[in-house]
């Protein structure tokens, strides 16, 4: 095998990580434009494991309800039982590669767990926590 082929293969494998870095930096730039930052992985982790009580049902909810505490493993949708792919980008390189998808899930899941949308600071912190896993 020649050097060129190895180089191209390595680049091809790296594409998802570039996409990831691109999507995350685009999102971080957006959050910063809204006045948030700097972002803290520790604050993100704290939010990730914090328990909220649903006003309507009284259920205790947090991010780990569905995603579990081991983010390198599969999670499970609390209501439907559908398998959720691992959150850790090191295991699942598809994570955080599409800006639209991240935005959609932040809205959907923040509303379910916190009962409201997350602030730009909260989203930046969580992303800082998740992207290093």
């Amino acid at each position: 095998m020649n050097i060129k082929l190895i180089g191209i293969t390595a680049l091809l494998f790296a594409i998802p990580f570039y996409a990831q870095a691109d999507a995350i930096s685009e999102l971080e730039a957006k959050y910063q434009a809204q006045g948030a930052g700097p972002f803290s992985a520790a604050a993100g982790e704290a939010l990730w494991t914090k328990t909220f009580v649903d006003a309507k049902s009284g259920d205790r909810r947090n991010c780990t309800t569905c995603h579990t505490t081991d983010l390198t493993k599969e999670g499970k949708h609390a209501r439907t039982g559908k398998i959720i792919k691992p959150m850790a980008p090191s295991i699942n390189p598809q994570r955080f590669t599409k800006v639209k998808k991240v935005r959609k899930w932040f809205v959907r899941n923040c509303k379910w767990v916190l009962g409201r949308e997350c602030t730009a600071q909260e989203k930046g912190d969580v992303l800082a926590f998740l992207k290093r896993l």
């Binding site: 309507k56 949708h77 209501r79 439907t80 039982g81 559908k82 639209k100 935005r103 959609k104 809205v107 959907r108 509303k111 379910w112």
Partner: protein, 378 residues
């Protein structure tokens, strides 16, 4: 035509009356009838169909055998008219019916009636299968309502056949008692006591063996899927039609739950569901407007009204037009079909509630929900 023989003949020795093919036909037909009756729940449709096809084959054989089957098996040996049946029944009422070595006049009429009913049951069964399930050789010949009609007729004829079978059994019992002979064992062994001058039937064992081989080979071919099935790839006897699909629908709806096929709810339900996507069973889906539009178009275009599957037709039929259900599990047809599922099954971790169709329906992802593609988890 057979004549009644003189009674009180003291010099009787057993001779073969029923040849092997006649007996094999008789008892296999009994087996088919019982099997078909026990498998009338569509969950066992493939077994029911095997019993039906086998019955059809047996009847065709019996008609042929009625021409070339030799003594006692030939139709000409039991071609009795109404007058002879009447005389025979009068004899029964007087407790002195004449004895026939072969079929008696009343029994012969039961045979003709059973053969006719069998043919009609096979025909209506195939029509129902083609209409209601869109399966089998007549798939597509009838639509769902017509298939349902054929199915109702099929059931009515089966009840009639059960009535004739019951009458036949009473007849066998009465004649056995009145003549003090065991007619059931005669149909098993083939032998009946007969006067010395009576004609004996040949055993016809070659035809019998050929029948047995064909039946066994047919069964093996029909059910071979069970032999090659694995736990991960269970055997599905029926594959439904390929239904319309949409990648965006599958991705977005399938992210949180099974992508429920549009054919499972009427269009008005899907319209409401997509308009209320900001509060989808308590969750804000936050879908982009163009995503909502594409999914909604796909859902409405292939909704239950399009009758893409039997389930679609029946679900739509069951929901009052004034109601806009958002849950498939609230459709009266769904409730009726699942009323016997115990709470223990719903709470089984492999099932995890009523949202997980695929736990039992092997073709849930495809949306076809074939009757025989179901199995409860262990």
């Amino acid at each position: 035509m057979a004549q009644p023989q003189a009674q009180n003949n003291n010099r009787q020795t057993p001779i073969r009356i029923w040849n092997i093919p006649v007996r094999l036909f008789h008892w296999t037909l009994v087996g088919c009838f019982i099997t078909a009756w026990l498998t009338r729940d569509n969950r066992y449709l493939d077994i029911h169909l095997f019993a039906g096809y086998l019955m059809a084959g047996l009847i065709v054989f019996r008609i042929l055998w009625g021409v070339i089957g030799g003594p006692y098996a030939s139709f000409r040996d039991f071609a009795f008219g109404w007058h002879e049946v009447w005389l025979y029944l009068k004899g029964v009422l007087n407790r002195r019916p004449p004895r026939f070595l072969g079929h008696n006049p009343a029994g012969s009429w039961a045979i003709y009636l059973l053969l006719t009913l069998g043919v009609l049951i096979v025909i209506t069964g195939l029509l129902g299968l083609g209409g209601e399930e869109q399966q089998g050789p007549l798939a597509g010949w009838l639509n769902y309502p017509q298939g349902k009609l054929a199915q109702d007729l099929h059931e009515l004829l089966a009840w009639l056949m059960l009535g004739v079978v019951g009458t036949h059994l009473i007849g066998v019992l009465v004649e056995s008692l009145l003549h003090k002979e065991n007619l059931v064992s005669a149909m098993l062994t083939g032998y009946k006591p007969a006067p010395a001058n009576a004609v004996s039937a040949a055993s016809q064992w070659k035809t019998g063996i050929a029948m047995a081989i064909i039946i066994l080979a047919g069964g093996l071919i029909w059910f071979q899927g069970y032999l090659t099935a694995t736990a991960n790839q269970p055997y599905r006897p029926f594959i439904g039609p390929e239904l319309p699909d949409n990648a965006l629908w599958r991705e977005e709806c399938g992210a949180c739950h099974l992508a429920f096929h549009p054919s499972l709810l009427p269009a008005r339900s899907w319209r409401t569901m997509m308009e209320e996507q900001a509060s989808h069973f308590g969750e804000d889906l936050f879908l982009e407007p163009d995503t909502v539009a594409e999914i909604k178009t796909f859902l409405v275009k292939n909704a239950a009204e399009q009758e893409l599957t039997e389930a679609a037709w029946k679900i739509n039929q069951s929901i009052p037009k004034s109601k806009t259900l958002l849950r498939i599990t609230e459709a009266p047809y769904w409730l009726k079909k699942h009323r016997d599922i115990s709470d223990a099954i719903w709470q089984n971790p492999k099932v995890n509630g009523k949202v997980n169709c695929a736990a039992c329906h092997l073709d849930a992802e495809m949306g076809t929900f074939e009757d025989a593609a179901m199995r409860l988890p262990d």
